[in-house]
């Protein structure tokens, strides 16, 4: 599967890591729900570390969409909540019509 870390690009991650990543994702989700800053940062850090360490960079000439997208490594809980609430990427930031 392909996982993108915002600001760092895409990584090819072995499918058998999906369970661990999904567990961390659930922690991330719960932390956002409860506005638990410490839990949010801990889960985000762990998930990003897992992808960075066990994933390989997707080649530049591969054009694929990621199965999962992780927030910026220094993202705040508020930032992520806003992105999820808006459900869209602001204005011209995607460079699309």
């Amino acid at each position: 599967m392909i996982v993108r870390i915002l600001g760092e690009g895409q990584f090819q991650v072995a499918d058998d890591l999906a369970a661990r990543l999904t567990a961390l994702d659930a922690e991330l989700d719960a932390a956002v729900e409860k506005t638990d800053d410490a839990a949010f940062h801990a889960a985000l850090r762990a998930a990003i570390q897992l992808v960075r360490e066990s994933g390989t960079t997707v080649p530049d000439d591969t054009f694929a969409t990621a199965d999962f997208i992780l927030p910026f490594s220094d993202a705040t809980l508020g930032e992520v909540r806003k992105l999820l609430a808006d459900g869209t990427i602001g204005g011209d930031s995607a460079g699309l019509p």
Binding site: R4, F63, F68, I69, I89, G90, S93, G95, L96
Partner: protein, 278 residues
């Protein structure tokens, strides 16, 4: 639903919406490529802006460091003049300034990190854009419009995720730079107006003024000593002129002894003054 899945769906939705609006899939490729080149320009400008902001903070850190050193100098100066109260005030000021300096150092590191990340993002996008151009030409040359659709969708969605990512990264960098500039502007004003000292402790340059006063009174003392010396140096000649048998001669001798050392001090004091004049 999970955070990571939801974010990826948000990115996909954006690409799909754009694709839906495109009538001729081949035009999508050219249009997208044009957007990518614009995005490259934007990300490079973003890197330059962050760098400018970082350099400004660096200059401010230097200015603050000088202020910190100056306070330390004042503290030593005050202590050597036996004014512990002034030394304490100077050190208190120094601590406040050091706090501001530490804060700036943190922000500097943050900007440096942003700059590095954005530089890497810019390189990544450049590589992606180059690969996209090749892919675009291949698709146009090799496939019929109908066949090309899937491949175009794939390439477009892939690059649009990259663009969305970098667009967000630039936005964040711009926000941080704007925050930084607002703070940097405030510190610049403080440094320029000299209000930093008042802001920091309200003491300045009460400290410097006091030290200057001490310095000035030292100058006055040495000036007095010099004048006394001159007067005493003239005294023996007057005594000699008054000749012998005078009842004041004993007193005159005593003051003449004192004068000898004073006049040496006077010469020493006068030499630097001569030097100043040159």
């Amino acid at each position: 639903m999970s955070v990571m899945k939801r974010v990826s769906l948000i990115f996909r939705a954006k690409a799909n919406k754009a694709l839906d609006r495109m009538e001729d899939p081949r035009e999508t490729l050219d249009y997208s490529y044009q957007q990518q080149v614009e995005m490259l320009t934007r990300v490079r400008r973003g890197v330059a802006d962050v760098a400018t902001s970082r350099k400004r903070v660096e200059l401010q850190m230097n200015s603050l460091q000088k202020e910190v050193d100056r306070r330390e100098g004042q503290a030593r100066d005050a202590l050597s003049k036996g004014r512990e109260d002034l030394a304490r005030a100077a050190l208190q000021n120094r601590a406040s300034l050091q706090g501001q300096l530490n804060d700036l150092q943190g922000q500097y590191a943050n900007l440096q990190e942003q700059e590095e990340k954005l530089t890497l993002a810019s390189q990544r996008l450049q590589a992606k854009v180059d690969a996209f151009r090749t892919r675009k030409e291949t698709i146009k040359a090799t496939y019929t419009a109908a066949e090309a659709q899937t491949r175009i969708n794939e390439a477009f969605s892939g690059i649009s995720e990259e663009m969305g990512d970098i667009g967000l990264a630039i936005q964040r960098a711009e926000d941080k730079t704007a925050q930084m500039q607002a703070r940097a502007g405030a510190i610049d004003e403080l440094l320029a107006s000299g209000a930093l000292e008042d802001h920091v402790g309200g003491q300045q340059d009460a400290i410097q003024a006091e030290l200057d006063k001490l310095g000035a009174s030292n100058d006055v003392d040495s000036e007095l000593a010099r004048m006394k010396g001159e007067l005493s140096a003239n005294a023996p000649r007057q005594i000699e002129a008054n000749a012998n048998g005078d009842s004041t001669s004993a007193n005159g001798d005593a003051s003449a002894n004192g004068d000898a050392s004073s006049s040496e001090a006077t010469q020493a004091a006068e030499q630097p003054q001569a030097g100043d004049g040159l």
